[in-house]
Symmetry: C2
Subunit: 314 residues, 2 copies
């Protein structure tokens, strides 16, 4: 399999991307060929310095970079030779099977929607985050910011997308889906939640267990938690601080608290689009880059996007 | 000052209420007279057993109790001699200055709205939770579940109510108000957040610092965080599990993590109504009851409700 990696995205690029690549190769060399997109001169030198120039690495020159504060649509149009534009071109044309970038999030989302496109039947693609659970298992929360306002039918689709990701990428068997609400009883919540509940209940493609509450997210009660992107984004960022708090209280090495460190999941896949796209954190370090590559390989190996297509065709 | 305490509310009532009273009296005897509402025979015996029958305790007999699963409106109508009904009667008639109960939350909310009523000009009263901050300070988050869907003008009022509570009860000088959003920049968020931002910006009664994110809630960046009641409720319950997680990871005694234990704040005041009402957690223990009494005394001493009235008249 072939994976395109934007070497110029992220606050510490390209160095951390190179170091991440090195980590990945030392653990899993040969599983994937990595197309490294970025400034060729700069990259060749760094790859050489890190002794990772080999057959599994292809450097693709990108003379331009889309900055963090550029307008996504404008930048994608005006910089066809940016690392992000080239990455989408490689993915859309089938030269690679997945594209990863920790660059401008807006440009990644716009590029995904316009170049890779939503799978037929998917109303709105979504982004998710994995959730460390006390039991050791890994939950999934979605949407975490791509769709701030949601309609019931969208939340119902997020449940399907999240279930398939949980099952095929996180290896959770028959994942339990919960609707994030203010109480457990059916009928709780506002109009959106009350209208979403029966859709989830009648959805034969998921294993709906009912409403769940804020306290259930980190417990082993639910595998896939569905909510609107505003609430999900707030939780995502709040969860990220759990690790910071643990460090502040001198328990940053605790096995559980450490799982809240963003580097351990690295990035968020866009779900519901035709091919695997993974968007990284701006502060991505080497481990984050490595884990994004690992996630990409799992998405490719599990053939997730086709499983989603099948589910939405059936 | 006089405070009415529903001794029959909460999973471990009346024993924990009595023990909480004992804790309060041993620390702050004489500051307030507590009207203990409940089964007189049962209460007299427990008070005697705990040696807390004194001049600062008045037992008010309530032959009925509103159960957890009773319909609030129906129960309030059919049980005028329940501890909750009597509490509201004492508060409305001016015999006491505050009312505390850990009983049926719905009955407490309905009773508050119909008996104590919203302050003129307040569109929707709100409930809040205190937030332990890493700096040692105490933040405030609202709404946490009373208003699941909100309009911009309501969020704008929550900002005023929260500021006054933060200033007068939590003793935060010139509290910084933040709007919980998915990014810091003005213009971020959905239609609700985009419409709320200018109202907060132009509101001369508050010290608005702009949008804040999930990561800022536990940091010393904002004192009063405003959001809709759905998102706030999810965060409230999620924050409560931080203590459980800490216990699970053997750091429950950590000074900071321990502040997430619900018993340390005990209950949530209803803000924007004419008199102090505090609603407790169903699982309230002795410390929770003690802290609810302490919060009630602070609300009375600071004359918070009149300060809110003045602010909404001005």
């Amino acid at each position: 399999m072939n994976i395109a990696l934007d070497m110029m995205g992220g606050d510490f690029a390209p160095l951390e991307a190179v170091k991440g690549l090195q980590l990945y190769l030392s653990a899993d060399s040969g599983a994937a060929t990595i197309f490294c997109i970025g400034n060729e001169t700069q990259l060749q030198q760094l790859l050489q310095e890190h002794n990772i120039a080999n057959d599994y690495i292809k450097v693709i020159h990108a003379p331009e970079v889309i900055g963090y504060h550029e307008s996504p649509t404008k930048a994608l149009k005006e910089k066809p030779n940016s690392s992000i534009s080239i990455g989408f071109h490689l993915l859309a044309s089938g030269k690679v099977d997945a594209f990863i970038s920790a660059g401008n999030t807006g440009a990644m989302l716009v590029g995904t929607m316009y170049t890779i496109k939503a799978i037929e039947g998917v109303l709105r693609p979504t982004i998710s985050t994995v959730v460390p659970q006390l039991s050791g298992k890994t939950g999934l929360l979605l949407d975490v910011g791509m769709n701030l306002d949601c309609k019931p039918e969208q939340l119902n689709q997020f449940a399907i997308l999240g279930s398939l990701y949980s099952q095929h990428v996180l290896n959770v068997e028959n994942p339990r889906v919960g609707l994030l609400n203010v109480g457990e009883e059916e009928g709780k919540g506002n109009a959106l939640l009350q209208s979403t509940y029966p859709l989830l209940k009648e959805n034969s493609k998921i294993n709906f267990i009912g409403n769940v509450e804020g306290r259930d997210i980190f417990n082993d009660k639910v595998d896939v938690t569905v909510c609107d992107g505003y609430t999900g984004n707030v939780i995502l960022k709040l969860a990220e601080t759990v690790y910071d708090i643990a460090v502040h209280r001198n328990v940053g090495n605790d096995e559980y608290f450490h799982r809240f460190h963003y580097e351990n999941y690295g990035g968020t896949p866009v779900l519901g689009v035709a091919k695997p796209v993974i968007i990284g954190h701006g502060i991505s370090n080497d481990k984050a880059f490595m884990n994004m590559i690992v996630t990409a390989t799992k998405m490719i190996e599990s053939d997730l996007c086709n499983k989603i297509k099948e589910s939405f065709t059936a």
